[in-house]
């Protein structure tokens, strides 16, 4: 029995380590991650008649609106891709990223009640948020595939099927980036609630700075293009579009830059998160 217990020895001091990614501990709580992910679904679709069908309806309506506003009224080109398909793919991948940022930015404040009463690895919450987004994304991909098959048969689009293998990597990339941004914001909102208001607005703005409702090819060379290229979300999204729709501009340097920013943000986020999680109950 003693040996069994020694395994669970915990030493608590006042010092907090700057970087401590306790993946082993988080792995022990993998069932909790699964449950949190499931809970997100249960709670999102509670007392709705259509239930999970909303995963399809939501992006579908949004894409139709984009088609009307950006495609038909503003007349923004889509590199010859059918409007609806173009906006559906853009919307699916952006929703995944924005969801990671939005949901994680409320990690501490939304769970203050639970965090204040019991210890479990806090990182399980952001991880389950990303998983939840990923599952939604894959469900949306089913709908996209239906449209895609139709347009491929019509000969309008020619996807790079081999590049579909990159999609998981793209998701991991955007997932880490979104989680990084989200947990930085959530760590700061424990002290400054202002950021909570800023974030949903900021994410909206960010979308317009990312080639979602327009293709990158539509932007003329200049400062604006430079800014859009530096945006770390741009390259993964172009990569995704190139795989699914066969159209996209990939510049390896900027893809590398995006990864560098992603990793830096993630490291910074986890550092901040570790720092905050120990004492945030005293400030929240």
């Amino acid at each position: 029995m003693t040996k069994e217990i020694d395994k669970h020895h915990v030493h608590i001091t006042s010092e907090s380590k700057w970087f401590e990614l306790n993946l082993k501990e988080a792995w022990k709580y993998k069932d909790l991650i699964v449950l949190f992910t499931k809970r997100n679904f249960t709670l999102t679709y509670k007392q709705t008649i259509l239930g999970p069908l909303w995963i399809f309806i939501n992006p579908f309506i949004t894409s139709i609106m984009y088609t009307l506003v950006f495609g038909n009224i503003a007349n923004i080109g889509t590199d010859g891709i059918p409007h609806l398909l173009f906006y559906l793919t853009g919307n699916a991948i952006w929703t995944f990223f924005a969801g990671c940022v939005n949901r994680n930015s409320h990690t501490f404040t939304a769970n203050a009640n639970v965090f204040g009463k019991v210890y479990f690895p806090r990182l399980t919450v952001p991880v389950s948020n990303v998983l939840y987004g990923a599952i939604q994304f894959f469900v949306q991909m089913i709908m996209i595939c239906v449209f895609l098959v139709y347009y491929v048969l019509k000969g309008v689009v020619s996807p790079n099927w081999m590049e579909w293998l990159f999609i998981p990597i793209i998701l991991i990339h955007l997932g880490i980036l979104g989680m990084g941004v989200g947990i930085v914001v959530s760590s700061l909102t424990t002290k400054y609630r202002d950021l909570g208001f800023l974030v949903s607005f900021g994410v909206q703005l960010w979308m317009y700075g990312t080639p979602i409702v327009y293709p990158l090819s539509q932007i003329g060379d200049g400062l604006l293009k430079q800014a859009i290229m530096i945006n770390p979300v741009t390259m993964p999204i172009e990569l995704f579009r190139k795989a699914v729709l066969g159209q996209g501009i990939i510049i390896p340097q900027y893809l590398m830059l995006s990864w560098v920013i992603t990793i830096m943000l993630a490291v910074f986020g986890i550092m901040l998160f570790n720092r905050i999680e120990k004492t945030f109950m005293d400030t929240v």
């Binding site: 029995m1 003693t2 217990i5 020694d6 669970h8 020895h9 915990v10 030493h11 608590i12 001091t13 006042s14 907090s16 709580y29 069932d31 909790l32 699964v34 449950l35 809970r39 249960t42 709670l43 509670k46 007392q47 009640n113 639970v114 965090f115 204040g116 009463k117 019991v118 210890y119 479990f120 700061l188 002290k191 400054y192 609630r193 202002d194 950021l195 120990k278 004492t279 109950m281 005293d282 400030t283």
Partner: protein
Amino acid sequence: MSGKRDIAIQLSGVKKMYKLGQIGGGTLRGDLESWWARKRGKEDPNTKIGQKERLKGQTFMALNGIDLTVYQGEALGIIGANGAGKSTMLKLLSRVTAPTEGTIDIYGRIASMLEVGTGFNREMTGRENIYMNGAILGMTKAEIDAKMEDIIDFSEVREFIDTPVKRYSSGMYVKLAFSVAAHLDNEIMIMDEVLAVGDMAFQKKCLTKMREAANKEGRTVLYVSHNMNTIRQLCDRCIVLDQGKIIFDGNVEEAIEMYLGISNTSDTTVLLEYLPREKWVKNDSAIMKRLKIDSDNSYFSFGKSIKAEMIIHGYKYNTDVILKVFLLYNGVAVTTMETSPSIKLEKDQDTEIHFELQLGRLAPAKYTMKLVLCRRNGMGGIEYLDVLMDSYMFEILEPENFHQNQKWSMNNNGFVVGEDIKIFS
């Protein structure tokens, strides 16, 4: 078990400091302004006039140097007045927040129940919540599956297990929540007054379950409560906290006496205003401030009376109030006395009353005093203004040659000593 007892929890020199007043600026702008002003050596624009620097130096030591060793299989009670640091200590042990100074070593997995039903979600069914709650408390899905039937049986809510918990009564909710926690395999259980809710029968069931966990399964239990009776039933060791320090560690009965004694400035003055209050009482119209017992000690002769003075403060309005004094033995009320005529309270004034409690033929034993201040409301009902559970403890001494010098048993002989039976022929 080996001869040397194994340590479950060790705290050494643990301190926890809280900043008083507003924490952080609250807004980013405010903090940036202050920071910028300090950088330039200017006056902080957010400082209130007359204040040197914003709340600097105004800190509060919730725990002020705690050294404690708890061994495996012990059931440790933690008592102390409100603000003594009990909850802070449990929070540190449950790793919800970190200490400011000192180290804590924990040998074993901790199940902390600082609240019943942590992570319960109203929209999810009982069964889903069992999984959720269990996982938050550190169980894997396989472990929960294995215990599912036991948990449902213990909770007594089998019929409703697949109904969202928002449809549950509060009693059912608590029963389910406690059942999950009680079935954890964790070596250490930390509880903060979770038993305060739920019906008596269920409370008893829980206490028995906890006792078993400590005695038979060798688990360690840390229990905080204001209910001295549950502490007595559950714990085999007890510490008393006062102003962030441990002032007593040892026997449960002595600890309780000590605790009921700390609130006294001298032996016989009880500062009632600092004692813990029942949560359901609003305490906005009147408060019992001080009780002075007219005696050097807390021992009274059989059949005599207790003379006392009390200061009551009225807040809202001039009103007539009634003071009820309950005498409790082991948590059970033995008798209740009330003032007659009623006491006149004046708005924002202290009122001093002198009274005498006739002990009559109450059996010799240790009693605790529960004090209730109430008034009649317009509808003919009673409105409770202030309630104090354990406010004072005293003992009635046996007279000479009492009960043929046999031990008087409260269980067998009763609470009241009957008059001698007269024989006429």
